[in-house]
Assembly symmetry: C2
Homo-oligomer: 214 residues x 2
DNA sequence: GTCTATACAGGGATAGAC
DNA sequence: GTCTATCCCTGTATAGAC
């Protein structure tokens, strides 16, 4: 876990990682200062360096943690909308809208993703790999598993579930992500819903099974 | 044009903007130093400040210029592959591959786009608007015009050409852009070709006209 | 008269010392 | 928890050179 060691009170440590998530997300890696993170956490800078060797270690640590948390949140949304599908189109649209909200929220979670994407050229390859595995790739696999289940019910005609999950994500999520620059610029709710709806319609033209076409 | 004035030799100015494109693209806005840009341009730092009021002005200026140049390059690719279509699927795949190469090249052009996306929260709204208009939105409109022409020939069944252009771009380009983090991480050529091909296949399942289906 | 080279003031950053 | 050593950056100023 790329930390200095187990030293220090756990509650201080949590305050630091939360503060780092907020400040790195708001300012980006280079602009964020350790002073600002310490102030946001309500601890002294010395305490920060007691838990994390340096700025980079702190950043990479919260990046991986954030990635895993976001994956968990998206997993909950999949369980809510895709586990017991009654109205396929509606559930696919609702999931797309909720996922865009969760991942692109200006709040604590989404913003850090921007900072990571901005710093990608300065992140060690193995850490980037781990971040991808814990985040986007994990969500992609989760979604592919749900599509396979829907295919078994005859609701989708997919052969390659991972490819279908990728294209669903492109059609219903990346348009919004790009338009909002991964959450930096707000996008109106109606716009998110509109894009999600036309994205799902396109997706269903590719993969709509017999039941979906009826 | 957000410069200090017309003072100075034009060839020096061009050297400065080219150097700024390279250095901002490589280091990002915050890390790039005016010293490094001056060195890369082979001029003194005073000359840089003689042409551009400050770092931000220089950055925004080269951002807009780069956006327009990239749009022009993509326009040439469209003319090459989409003006006289013989084999629709093949031409759509070839254009997708070439565009991905052009826009995501680690060279001078593509890299600056990363820097802009990273700084989007710190860019004035009107400049961001101008950058979008000169770049991604202009390319989208160009592509939509080509799709309309293809629809008139019966090769595509599109009602909303802008939407079709958006979805083509998502399916054939954004998957690559995201995987390479807008050019920061190299993606193998075969991978680019594979993604472009499956993206076009999906696109044609949505919009393939009668002739395309034959 | 513009360019080069260098130096410098002022601010802010990291990381460590006390 | 504060204080500080050290470094880097922006932007300006001061020299002289073609």
């Amino acid at each position: 876990m790329a930390t200095t060691g187990g030293a220090g009170r756990p509650e201080k440590r949590k305050a630091i990682t939360q503060a780092a998530t907020v400040v790195f997300g708001r300012e980006g890696y280079v602009r964020a200062s350790m002073d600002a993170i310490a102030a946001e956490a309500g601890v002294s800078k010395r305490t920060v360096y007691n838990h994390f060797a340096d700025k980079e270690t702190l950043f990479l640590s919260v990046a991986l943690q954030n990635s895993a948390e976001l994956t968990e949140e998206v997993r909950r949304l999949m369980a809510k909308y895709l586990d017991r599908v009654m109205d396929l189109r509606r559930d696919l649209v609702d999931f797309a809208v909720e996922r865009a909200r969760a991942v692109l929220s200006a709040g604590e979670h989404g913003a850090l993703g921007r900072a990571i994407r901005a710093e990608v050229a300065n992140i060690p390859a193995d850490v980037l790999e781990a971040w991808l595995e814990a985040g986007p790739i994990a969500s992609l696999r989760d979604l592919a598993a749900h599509f396979e289940a829907l295919a078994e019910r005859g609701l989708l005609a997919v052969e390659d579930a991972v490819l279908a999950a990728e294209q669903y994500t492109l059609l219903t999520f990346h348009g919004i992500a790009e338009r909002s620059f991964w959450g930096a610029v707000p996008v109106a709710d109606e716009e998110v819903e509109r894009i999600a709806a036309v994205g799902v319609d396109a997706f269903l033209r590719i993969y709509g099974g017999p039941a979906a076409r009826a």
